[in-house]
């Protein structure tokens, strides 16, 4: 690190505005602080020091949907919980993304019965599905990286 970088004279970088915005969106994508079942334990593990989600700028779990960009549905969604999940999603400001973490959130998993929603994609639009019961922290991180790749390809005209 030279003296001119310390003083802030880092030269000029040219890029597209779209790339800059998408880069900053992936670099500070804050998940919402909520877990529904055992997958939430793996999500906590992914955020703790061993796997350390903050490497991807995601160390902040916002306790309010108003401040979060990413909803990680970690666990099975019961029919009674479904309207709550939808309301939380509606309260999140755009741009927002959803990861269905684990088999239960993706497709109902082993709970094929009247009480559990068969896939949270019936309630909120899902961007990335992560398989596993529950997925290991590596699995969740892989899902998040996949989402980051997806976000980097997004176009402004699709949001408009």
């Amino acid at each position: 690190m030279g003296i001119n970088q310390k003083t802030g004279e880092m030269g000029i970088v040219t890029t597209k505005l779209e790339d800059l915005v998408n880069w900053s969106r992936t670099g500070s994508m804050w998940p919402m602080l909520f877990g529904l079942a055992c997958c939430a334990i793996e999500m906590m593990g992914a955020q703790a020091s061993n796997y350390d989600l903050s490497r991807f700028g995601m160390e902040l779990n916002r306790a309010s949907p108003r401040q979060s960009d990413l909803m990680i549905v970690a666990g099975r969604v019961s029919r009674k919980m479904a309207p709550v999940v939808r309301q939380l999603y509606d309260q999140m400001p755009d741009p927002k993304w959803v990861i269905a973490m684990g088999d239960c959130a993706s497709c109902g998993g082993v709970f094929n019965n009247y009480a559990v929603v068969q896939g949270v994609d019936e309630v909120v639009p899902v961007d990335v599905y992560v398989a596993g019961c529950p997925p290991r922290p590596e699995g969740l991180i892989h899902g998040i990286i996949t989402l980051h790749e997806k976000v980097k390809k997004e176009k402004f005209k699709d949001w408009a």
Binding site: G108, N112, D121
Partner: protein, 172 residues
Amino acid sequence: MTMNEMLQPVVQSLQERFQAQPAEFRGEVSLLIAPEFNLEAVLALRDEFQFEMLLDETAVDYWPQNEPRFHVVATLYSFTRNVVIELRFPVDGNAAELRSLVPAYPSANWKEREIWDLFGIRFGGHPDPRRIVMPYEWEGHPLRKDYPLGYEEVQFSFNADQVDRHKRYAKR
């Protein structure tokens, strides 16, 4: 029958007054009592025999083997005597009803709401007879044996497109 000597006078008294039928299994005593007497029997246990605590109130559905199909089960505990007694009230029918135990034990409130929610047994005189577990607009009572479990077709690779066509996806 080698019943706990603390329980013997209790069982005798309830047999005489409410025609209770006692049964014992591995030291646990249960009394089958007609549902008309449920509040009286519980009040007698509370006021005369120091059963201070309602440990649990629940129900069992014996459909289709048994008639009447439901047993409402109340488990009482006495700190003074250190004994547990189980009362069973058989009730029948699709609109099964018996009196609430809330006047005797306020803690029966939520337990009876749960029994109403999951078994559809009404409690007369209950102060707050709403559902407690299922959504309020839910139809049916899921822990009844004749309630359909519910099943959605599982999506495998051979029928993925077919299931995909009728699956309702949420919109943004």
